[in-house]
């Protein structure tokens, strides 16, 4: 019996490892391109034969990548905390009056173009990283709020009834029943929010937040396609890597 269990265990471990293969592969490609970009000079020369310089060198790609991840990470963490928090708050008996208001605000956040948020935020917050974090935060809130509301709403009323009838407190109901059951839907919302924000964060380069958007903006200004491709390539790989991590997490949940 133990032998059979061992084999099953090993096989399980193998599938576990295999399922992490896609995220790891994208991550590997990302690191490879970020570190090896100068070695691809030949290829970029072919894309952009007229420019003197074809590899973006004003900052290291790893530094840009790190700043990009940092901005998206901070904005997403704030959006997750605020989004899930407010969605939970308005589905409790005490906060139910605010449910329409919050879902409306979240929708408005989405319809507002991030460029407009930046344009409004710069006068108030100045140039740099802060306005882009605010813009990403507002922009990333909607999918999280909407999915958390959907996830909580999708829970069988009888499960809630039974939980209350058995003598669970509101907090126990939330932590032990509602959140675990809504988790896949909430996670899907976070996934959308984060991947969209990885792309949107590039706009930060226009207000002086240096990140992977820098080569793209510089490329547009100088008419250098190679710069644009380098920035876009890394942003794309980052988005794919993060997205496949979420995909992996969702499949288990």
């Amino acid at each position: 019996m133990s032998r059979q269990e061992l084999t099953i265990g090993a096989a399980g471990l193998q599938t576990q490892m295999r399922s992490w293969l896609a995220p790891l592969a994208w991550l590997f490609l990302l690191v490879l391109f970020a570190s090896g970009m100068p070695h691809l000079e030949g290829a970029f020369r072919w894309i952009e034969p007229d420019s003197r310089e074809v590899i973006y060198r004003r900052a290291g790609f790893f530094v840009l990548l790190g700043q990009h991840v940092l901005v998206v990470g901070v904005a997403s963490l704030l959006a997750v905390a605020l989004g899930i928090g407010s969605a939970i708050a308005v589905t409790r008996p005490a906060g139910r009056d605010f449910l329409p208001l919050v879902s409306q605000l979240a929708s408005i956040g989405q319809t507002f173009p991030p460029v407009a948020v930046l344009a409004l935020a710069v006068p108030a917050l100045g140039f740099g990283t802060l306005p882009i974090i605010v813009a990403l935060l507002l922009y990333g809130l909607l999918p999280i709020v909407r999915n958390t509301l959907t996830g909580l709403d999708g829970i069988d009323a009888d499960v809630r009834e039974a939980a209350r009838g058995m003598g669970m407190t509101g907090g126990q109901l939330l932590r032990q029943v509602e959140l675990p059951l809504a988790a896949p839907v909430i996670l899907a919302g976070i996934r959308t929010s984060v991947t969209v924000n990885i792309a949107t964060a590039a706009l930060g380069a226009t207000v002086g937040a240096s990140n992977l958007g820098d080569p793209i903006i510089a490329g547009i200004i100088n008419g250098n396609t190679a710069y644009i491709v380098q920035g876009a390539l890394l942003i794309g790989l980052l988005a794919l890597a993060v997205d496949s991590v979420f995909e992996r997490l969702l499949r288990r949940g």
């Binding site: 009834e161 039974a162 209350r164 003598g167």
Partner: protein, 313 residues
């Protein structure tokens, strides 16, 4: 013991329960029956305060339910609902252990109790402990629901149409199991159903409700013999009442000791209801049955006249 004194509940302008008074003795199975919307479920849910009553008082063991913290109160009362309400992300064992865990029992004691209950409800531990609710049949899921309600050994059990969603065969076998459980556990049970056969089979006290009021209450047999009005009569089955009464009486109550005559060829267990004996007679076109005990040994006989209540054989 549960007592309701003039309990009233209004939803908006509508009165769902109207000055209802009821007393359920300790160890008694009280079944609330009535058409849908008669307030029977509302009455049940007011006992564990899932719905707060607007007027009157509800007492458990002499103390008003409002004097308890509602969470503490509910952990002391077993609650079973039609759709089971099992947590889909928890295993069977974890679902059953819910209330003991809320009550912070030590882990070993919870596991012991869960296994004991699974055995009691005919759910082999090895097979079912690790399963999830979606892997269970309707009957199995409701067994888990009953086990969960019994987990912390509550004095009181509230059951809201627990077998309503099951097929007739599963329903009957669960009713029988509930009767056997009750014979051992002696809980105070309030049971809501709109299935009159179920009500007659399970009730020590039958309470017929209509429009938020009690129309009649008493022993099932008394209600059958002497329904208060046409509503109760029709609810109890109208012209079928004779058969329903026969279903409540056991063969052993009417049988006579074995006589000198030859044994009748058809046999019936002594614990079977009279309705079954009548059915056998109709089917085989005989007027006499041999009554046998659990080991299929003849212990008496039952004639059609005795079955009908005649004095002589």
């Amino acid at each position: 013991m549960i007592e309701l004194f003039g309990v009233t509940k209004r939803f908006g302008g509508e009165t769902a329960v109207d000055a209802l008074s009821l007393r359920v003795e300790k160890g008694e199975v009280c079944v609330l029956v009535g058409t849908s919307g008669c307030g029977k479920s509302t009455t049940l849910r007011m006992i564990n305060r899932l719905i707060e009553h607007d007027g009157g008082e509800i007492h458990l063991e002499g103390a008003p339910v409002r004097s308890f913290d509602e969470v503490t109160l509910r952990r002391r009362i077993g609650y079973v609902i039609q759709s089971t309400g099992l947590f889909p992300h928890w295993t069977v064992a974890r679902n059953i252990g819910l209330v003991p865990r809320l009550l912070k029992w030590p882990r070993a004691r919870i596991q012991e109790r869960v296994e004991e209950l699974m055995q009691l409800l005919g759910l082999p531990v090895r097979e079912f402990a690790g399963k999830y609710p979606r892997q269970l049949s309707g009957g199995q899921a409701q067994r888990v629901g009953v086990a969960r309600a019994l987990a912390a050994d509550p004095e009181i059990l509230l059951m809201d149409e627990p077998f309503g969603a099951l097929d007739p065969l599963t329903r009957q076998s669960l009713q029988k199991e509930l009767q056997e459980l009750q014979a051992r556990l002696h809980k105070t049970v309030v049971f809501v159903t709109h299935d009159m056969d179920e009500a007659l089979a399970l009730a020590d006290r039958l309470v017929v409700m209509r429009k938020g009021r009690i129309v009649q209450q008493g022993r099932p047999i008394d209600l059958l013999h002497d329904p208060a009005d046409e509503f109760v009569e029709s609810l109890l089955g109208g012209m079928d009442r004779g058969l329903k009464e026969a279903a409540l009486t056991r063969v052993s109550e009417r049988m006579l000791p074995l006589g000198p005559r030859l044994l009748a060829s058809e046999r019936i267990p002594y614990a079977a209801p009279l309705s079954q004996a009548l059915s056998l007679m109709l089917w085989h076109r005989v007027e006499r049955l041999t009554v046998v005990d659990d080991e299929d040994i003849p212990v008496g006989e039952l004639s059609l006249r005795r079955l009908l209540g005649g004095k002589t054989s």
